[in-house]
Subunit: 342 residues, 2 copies
DNA sequence: CTGAAAGCGCTTACAG
DNA sequence: CTGAAAGCGCTTACAG
């Protein structure tokens, strides 16, 4: 006999399809007694709405924009590629993704891009945020227009974004420190920190978590002030080189942002690759090679494909006013050593 | 004007809906010239089949069985719980999951359970396999009847299963060794290995990877023969206790299977918790507490929710003869230190 | 080899 | 407050 349908409900409750629908979707304007009759039928028949039929009938479409700073940062490049792949895969599910590329480390350009989106008929926006007041305002502006917003990779709390899709960056920093502390056990010295920009909340939080654990649990290791390389390998190489020359007792490097190639070059030039313990972020061509040859001790990652898919699921759920399982949507911190790179 | 539909295709190609459908779904029995006309229309109109409409019209249902050994193993208990949750969530998507619980470490019971499934109208089966010849045969029997089979958590290659859903256990073992080697750097000694059963391929592979890396990269650490605790905390405690008493130079323990509570108890009783470096598998109430208080150094995990969802996606794709993205379906090895437990 | 018509299980105007 | 009817975009017998 198959599963119960709305027709079965209507017959069992002695009402029309329209009324069944009103009750099922809590549209109101139905007598309490009628509601009860329908709900009784739902329980008795074990009714469950068929998702495909509902989607088809509703003709709902989801238009989502992904705002991503793109430049030389390999991670953001692969994030963009994943969104593009996803866009193709979702076109047959009434989900249409567009990508808005903005210049990196340029808060003003980001704000302009977000403001421009206000005039578009969008269901939701995912944005790799910087944590500036004007950015928070621009996010708030979208949210105020009823557009669901999630921050991606780097958060901007208090902006009106509905959710943050990305790893817990403080935890990542703490993990990096914990690995560093255990890997260089028994040795004292300094640790250099190379970041992209402290205006990116993800970088700031990683540094915070890192310093916190280093100070409290591995006092024999002293963190140097973070240098900001703005994702440039050249800047990273120069800046780290200066630190290495100035402090011969550097035993570790925490590479928080992009520019791993520069970190590696600075170490290689001084014959320090493999001798200094390097913990870096994101698996890229260069970081993977460095892991394989022992120049990097560990790499912390986030999976851009997971992040893109999670952002889409959440934005669609927000648009439907449906709940989503925050547990399922948690983005894991992947830790790679030489022995478990995929 | 909206997206192109089959009606648009039919009109553009000058054929009927039925013919459009035959071409789109490669059902054959269509003249080459007609096929071409339709395909031209598909390209010109940028047609993409609407997934919801196709699902609704096809009336396809997926009946999937999950065969899981259940007993005291907390990981398998939470896997079962995840499958149950998923079953509820998927009922409105024409996917019906059933759970077949079998006694653990009992190859014969597993084979019987699999054989019984042959008489049921199933679309697919996910099974936590043991790597026995009779189990492989039983899996082959299902596959021969056209039922898609995936192995879950522990693989049985050469059985006819279409895919394995779980972590790379050799890589997990190598990772454990790598962490152990770095964490106890500079000290020589023995490492005890506590497993569930070497008949479980996942356990055997973890041991293999672990010993491989220990031998080649950390020769100052010697692995003791693995003890098999059959997921029993009591057996694990006794067996590890004997090893600890016999070998005062044990500096590390690799806990491959369940029974972490027993491992902990054996160490505590001897005042060795925190002094011996323990790497264990799976985040449970006990292992989490041990990580927090420093008794365990690291925990390697697999996410049972991810595994259940991946198994369903793959079994549905197999049933549809559709491709699936093996990269997306790769199950990550999660590494938890005290600083990144969720 | 091809087509006309009905149907999948919902939702949506529209009318009352 | 309630209902009859049409429609969403596919697929499926059935007929020719």
């Amino acid at each position: 006999m198959g599963r119960a349908t709305v027709h079965d409900l209507a017959r069992a409750a002695g009402v029309s399809l329209a009324t069944v629908d009103r009750v099922l979707n809590r549209r109101g304007g139905v007598r309490a007694a009628t509601i009860e009759k329908v709900e009784l039928a739902v329980d008795r028949l074990g009714y469950r709405r068929d998702a495909a039929a509902a989607t088809l009938a509703k003709q709902r479409e989801y238009r989502l924009a992904f705002v991503i700073p793109t430049g030389v940062n390999s991670f953001l490049v692969s994030l963009t590629a994943e969104v593009r792949k996803l866009a193709d895969a979702l076109r047959n599910q009434r989900v249409f993704l567009s990508i808005v590329e903005v210049p990196p480390f340029d808060g003003e350009a980001l704000v302009q891009a977000l403001d421009r989106l206000q005039s578009q008929p969008l269901t939701g926006v995912a944005v790799v945020a910087t944590d500036h007041a004007p950015v928070r305002l621009a996010v708030g502006g979208l949210a105020a227009r009823g557009v669901g917003v999630v921050t991606l990779v780097s958060d901007a709390p208090g902006s009106g974004r509905a959710h943050y899709v990305g790893i817990d960056n403080s935890a990542a920093g703490r993990t990096a420190a914990s690995l560093m502390g255990r890997f260089v056990r028994g040795i004292s010295g300094r640790v250099a920190i190379v970041a992209g920009s402290m205006l990116q909340r993800d970088h700031a939080e990683r540094r915070f978590g890192f310093e916190q654990v280093l100070r409290t649990e591995y006092p024999q290791l002293t963190a140097l002030p973070a240098v900001e390389a703005l994702d440039s390998a050249a800047v990273a190489e120069t800046a780290l080189g200066i630190e290495l020359d100035r402090h011969p007792d550097i035993v570790g490097v925490y590479s928080i942002g992009a520019g791993n190639r520069g970190v590696l070059a600075a170490l290689r030039k001084r014959g320090l690759a493999g001798a200094v313990c390097v913990i870096a972020h994101e698996l890229t061509e260069h970081s993977r090679a460095a892991l394989a040859d022992g120049s990097f001790a560990a790499i912390l990652c986030q999976d851009p494909g997971h992040e893109a898919r999670s952002a889409v699921r959440i934005l669609c759920a927000l648009a439907d006013g449906a709940p989503f399982d925050a547990g399922h949507e948690r983005i894991h911190i992947d830790i790679y050593l030489r022995d478990n790179v995929p």
